[in-house]
């Protein structure tokens, strides 16, 4: 192999690969939305009452936090494209802080439910009937899987931020930052659907 092969990079292929991965993520959550739709159709009354118990305020707050974090990571890409390393770092840092704030809210939200003995496998929840068991089972599983994605996204952006610091990501080589942004936006988009389905539609 010659030297050109070692230094070769293909941003278009990296981005396409990321998109293909995102499609599998969409289908993963899409499958869960199908499960939600069917269970809701079969237990309309229980889902209606259970959804009323979720805090619309925390849900709305977390939605705004995630939307803002999506904007900051998008602006971070703009900053690196304009060769403004400092601003790119600050914006990526804000994104990480907002992601952490989302998780903290989630912690208090889940903590409240668990204190009321509402969690998958709880005997108190079982007494409330099959519909509630299904609603909260889906609620904990889907928001939990989403929170796991947030954690992965935070690690991803954290690594990318380190690379910006060490000049491994620069104004003419930033596809990794773009890919971490794509992942973060997807996680944001999944929340855009989770929020109305669990918090708003009662």
């Amino acid at each position: 192999m010659n030297m050109a092969a070692d230094t070769h990079r293909d941003d278009l292929a990296s981005k396409t690969g990321m998109w293909l991965f995102l499609f599998t993520e969409m289908l993963l959550f899409g499958g869960l939305f199908v499960v939600y739709t069917v269970y809701r159709y079969r237990n309309p009354e229980a889902f209606h009452l259970a959804a009323k118990e979720l805090s619309v305020f925390i849900g709305t707050l977390n939605t705004i936090i995630l939307l803002t974090s999506s904007a900051t990571i998008a602006m971070s890409i703009t900053a690196i494209q304009k060769n403004n390393k400092k601003l790119a770092l600050v914006l990526a840092g804000i994104t990480i802080l907002l992601g952490l704030a989302f998780l903290v809210n989630k912690y208090f939200e889940w903590g409240e439910h668990i204190r009321e003995q509402i969690y998958p496998g709880s005997s108190v929840l079982a007494l409330r009937g099959q519909g509630d068991v299904l609603f909260y089972g889906l609620y904990f599983f889907m928001t939990g899987l989403h929170a796991l994605h947030i954690i992965i996204g935070l690690v991803f952006i954290g690594i990318v931020t380190g690379k910006i610091t060490r000049n491994k990501i620069t104004f003419d080589n930033y596809v990794l930052l773009e890919n971490s942004g794509l992942y973060w936006h997807l996680v944001d988009m999944i929340w855009i659907f989770l929020f109305p389905l669990f918090y708003l539609i009662t």
Binding site: N2, A4, A5, H8, R9, D10, D11, L12, T16, W19, F23, M26, L27, G30, G31, F33, V34, T37, V38, Y41, R42, V56, T60, T63, I64, L67, T68, S70, A71, A74, M75, I77, T78, Q81, K82, D172, E178, G181, L182, H185, L186, D188, M189, I192, F193, F195, P196, L200, I201, T202
Partner: protein, 112 residues
């Protein structure tokens, strides 16, 4: 057929990648902030609308607003508007597959 191609390929792709980098579209900060403002407004709208009792219409409105929001995230934040059209085609295909599965599943449950 032509064995000289693999040796040439890396240079060829490299120069093309460079060309792609040169014509990169940069989204202005302002655009991103406008979209953010719009997304937050839509979120608050969907919260307000669902607090009023509109029956089954509530579900439809909340989901339509969610779809509008994600289309902005996809087109601006995820840069689809400025990418090769093949990406949009692929996203649409995935969404259609999902819709197809949901419709098929519902047909099964509604008419069994």
């Amino acid at each position: 057929m032509d064995f000289s191609v693999p040796a040439v390929l890396p240079y060829h792709i490299k120069s093309r990648a460079k060309m792609d980098n040169e014509k990169t579209h940069i989204i202005p900060y302002k655009t991103i902030l406008y979209v953010l403002a719009l997304l937050i407004t839509l979120t608050l709208t969907s919260v307000a609308v669902t607090q009023i009792y509109l029956g089954t219409l509530t579900v439809a409105i909340a989901l339509v607003i969610a779809c509008i929001k994600s289309s902005f995230v996809l087109r601006i934040f995820m840069h689809l508007k400025f990418e090769n059209k093949i990406y949009i085609l692929a996203v649409v295909a995935v969404v259609l597959v999902l819709c197809f599965v949901i419709i098929l599943t519902l047909l099964d449950y509604l008419y069994r």
